[in-house]
Amino acid sequence: MHSVKRERTSAKAREERRRREAGKIVEYKALVDKVLTSRKNQNYTPDALSLTTTLLKQNPEYYTIWNYRREILTSIFLAQPAETIQSHIDNELQFLFARLMEFPKCYWIWNHRKWCLETSPSPPWKYELGLVTKMLERDARNFHGWHYRRYVVQGTEQATGKSLVRPEFDYTTTKIKANFSNFSAWHNRTKLIPRLLKEEPDIDARNFLDNEVNLITQAIYTDPDDQSVWLYHRWLITSDDIVKLSSDERKDLLNKEIKSIQELLDVEPDSKWCLQSLAFYKCLLASLAGKAVESSVVGYLDKLQDIDPMRKKRYEDWKVQL
């Protein structure tokens, strides 16, 4: 963990701690053995379920146990009426909720939740969307949350037959306005924009694109060190999924952005992202125009080797390919 001071514990205190932990380790190992043996014996009883509950509370990252839990539940669900299954699923969702509060970034918890939704006779999509909204309020940059959100939105759309593209797009706008250092929010936006433009044909796509470019430029100038805004910018400028641009229009757009980034580079001469983006766009422009790459690009790559020595070889490679 960052900036957590190492405590200078006395040898006695360390020994004490080791003893305590040794005891816990023995207990834990015994529990694991019990659960795995239970699985080997194909024990799918409620008691077995209870065992997995205890173990998963201590270690939700042990994905084998989640697998076993699903085997137990599937067995319990056999030849059960829908209400019983739903009741079990409700309990599972509640159990998972408490785990999520403790471990919001554990793949297996989210995964099991998805399994619950898929197995549920009547999946509570509305509740799930509320839950994931709450999770994203606590941590707007949790990509698990965003991924799950896309899944829930899709499920809702299928269940209701109504598109949620517009409210979801507005949601990303809200999140970005609160803090634009959010790769997931920008990423979600890239998924929504093509659909939005298709579903709302009244929107002038070119105008829309220009507004988005303006928005991302504000972010770039506010914090040029933020990776997510540069990646979104790149998508805007190069994507074919927003609006169909003719070759000339594309070249004009590239030139305009190159000029804008150049102005930023003038006041921030050591900005890694400015240099990288300029190099990339100038190369792209050259290939579109069928011309040789501008000589300034070599200068950018040289400068990048200085300020970003970790990726020295990559820039060298790039220079060679010019």
């Binding site: 509640q94 159990f95 002038d204 972010a219 102005e263 930023l264 006041v267």
Partner: protein, 546 residues
């Protein structure tokens, strides 16, 4: 403390420290001393707590005005002119003689929390800081998000501002950047080192730094600017707070209460009429004689004529909610240097709505102050008052009419009509309000700073505390209290070094950031597998915004 017999009878009591005046600094010291076991007798000649920091009801205010204008005035105040409209209920007002706001990252707040005095008080957020620019109040951008979403700043300005903000958060470490400008004006530093333009410099100096002039030295100014920026996001989207029912006086009262719990004896309406240095006996106007074994701390220091602030208080019949951020009841407006026909010092305004507890609903109190003095000071305050009046009438009027030609209307692709904002701005500027503003109270007065008549040393029997400072923010209170404490006890090591017993575990001022709904979720709703516990899905789903 060896207690007395019947009052009025000539009796001699003893105390370790006699504190004269229940101002904020004295009250902090009283509590600090009391909690370390010192016998403190704390008296005040006024019938209320707070001294020069107090917030007064209208009756107290009238009496105060008479006292201040009389020949025997020994307060830091002078030249008080008071007008009160008829039919006001005097007890519904708390007029703050020296209003102060509390930034979240200052040691006074830490002390309030540590001493548990914060539990006696109710604080409200203050996140609206405006600068008067080109005839309107512009809200200052104080965070990365404000800068990002601003529609008025250019791209390059955004970059320059961000670069400065990043530097100032850590300015003490980056000495090389500013050491050449140490004693130079902050405006020069901002312009030459960061390429900032005049509007940004004005906002940073006046509304973020709360400085009286852009000529303030760079070293001093950077500290003040950092204070605002680092105070954001501690409790929420605001850098400062204020206590309800009055600022300094309420805090003083809180510390007095703490001191009383620790054993301090309080007597209001009691004057100190004499003190014999040799015998160490103090005489009170009640006839009581007190033997003081250690020191007397007095707030009756001599005033100095070097520095002065001119103040104005206006109670208006408008709620002024147009100036407050959502969920807030106060705002700060600063008129920078040279925006009021030649003012050489800023005019700072603290607007307190009825939510502050200082006035009834539908009204607001405007506290104006400037470091221009005397007749000139009052003149500039009146000009600022006019601007405030114009602005609030314009922003709060309901019958707003203006002429629009068909050509000035454009239509959005979805059919919504849009009027050019330039034209709208012009109409707003040419708008003359039909109504005028009703003033229920107007008060102007001057306030001087105080200086100790004798160099206070460890040997002095009488030491003096300072009067309220001129800054809009609480500054230096803890340092001053510690200095006095050290003169009495010889050290500051045990200053409020107390283990207060907790009535409950959760004892800090974190209301704004605590998400009550998240807490509700995280309460142990964890059921042991098969339990059949039905969760209320609808309750949570209702919060979802689609």
């Amino acid at each position: 403390m060896a207690t007395t017999t019947t009052p009025g009878v000539d009796s001699t009591e003893t105390c370790d420290v006699l504190i004269y005046g229940t101002g904020l600094v004295e009250s902090v010291v009283a509590a600090a001393l009391a909690w370390q076991g010192t016998n403190v007798l704390h008296i005040d000649s006024n019938p209320y707590y707070g001294g020069s920091w107090a917030a007064l009801n209208l009756d107290e205010l009238k009496a105060w005005t008479d006292r201040v204008n009389s020949a025997s005035n020994n307060t830091p105040f002078s030249d008080a002119y008071l007008y009160i409209s008829r039919n006001l209920d005097p007890r519904k007002y708390a007029i703050d003689l020296s209003p102060h706001i509390l930034f979240t990252r200052v040691d006074l707040l830490s002390l309030l929390i540590k001493s548990r005095v914060s539990r006696y008080l109710e604080f409200k957020p203050l996140g609206s800081f405006h600068t008067f620019e080109q005839d309107s109040f512009e809200k200052v951008p104080g965070t990365k998000e404000d800068i990002f979403t601003s529609q008025t700043l250019t791209l390059l300005t955004k970059r320059s501002l961000m670069r400065f903000m990043k530097f100032v958060i850590d300015w003490e470490q980056n000495i090389i950047v500013w050491q050449d400008y140490k004693d130079e004006p902050i405006s020069k530093f901002l312009e030459e080192k960061f390429g900032l333009d005049v509007p940004q410099i004005v906002e940073l100096v006046h509304s973020i730094g709360l400085l009286p002039t852009p000529k303030t030295s760079t070293e001093v100014a950077l500290g003040k600017i950092k204070r605002y920026l680092t105070s954001m996001q501690v409790y929420g989207n605001f850098p400062a707070m204020y206590s309800m029912y009055g600022t300094g006086g309420e805090l003083a009262q809180g510390f007095c209460r703490s001191a009383a719990v620790a054993g301090t004896v309080y007597r209001l309406g009691t004057k100190l009429v004499g003190f014999d240095e040799t015998t160490g006996v103090a005489e009170l106007d009640s006839g009581d004689r007190i033997k003081v074994t250690e020191k007397i701390i007095s707030s009756e220091a001599l005033v100095t004529h070097d520095e002065e602030v001119t103040r104005m208080v206006a109670v208006v019949e408008k709620d002024c909610k147009e100036w407050f951020a959502e969920g807030e009841s106060a705002a700060v407006v600063v008129f920078p240097v040279d925006t009021l026909d030649g003012n050489q010092a800023a005019v700072q305004v603290l607007v307190m709505g009825s939510g502050s507890g200082q006035c009834p609903s539908g009204q607001a109190i405007w506290y104006l102050s400037t470091q221009e003095i005397g007749e000139l000071g009052r003149k500039f305050l009146y000009v600022a008052l006019e601007k405030l009046e114009e602005t609030i009438l314009r922003e709060s009027t309901e019958d707003f009419e203006f002429d629009v030609n068909e050509e000035e209307i454009a239509y959005l692709p979805n059919g919504l009509p849009v009027i050019s904002s330039v034209r709208l701005g012009e109409s707003l500027r040419n708008f003359t309000p039909k109504e005028s503003l009703k003033y229920l109270l107007k008060l102007t007065y001057s306030q001087k700073s105080t200086v100790s008549p004798i160099e206070a040393t460890a040997d002095s029997k009488v030491i003096y505390s300072a009067a309220p400072g001129f800054s809009l923010a609480f500054e230096g209170i803890v340092d001053q209290a510690k200095a006095l404490y050290e003169l009495v006890t010889g050290t500051t090591d045990d200053f409020f070094d107390v283990d207060f017993e907790d009535e409950d575990d959760d004892a800090t001022v974190t209301a704004a950031t605590a998400d009550p709904e998240a807490r509700e979720f995280s309460e142990d709703k964890d059921e042991e597998d098969v339990g059949g516990h039905q969760y209320d899905f609808e309750e949570v789903a209702g919060e979802m915004t689609i």
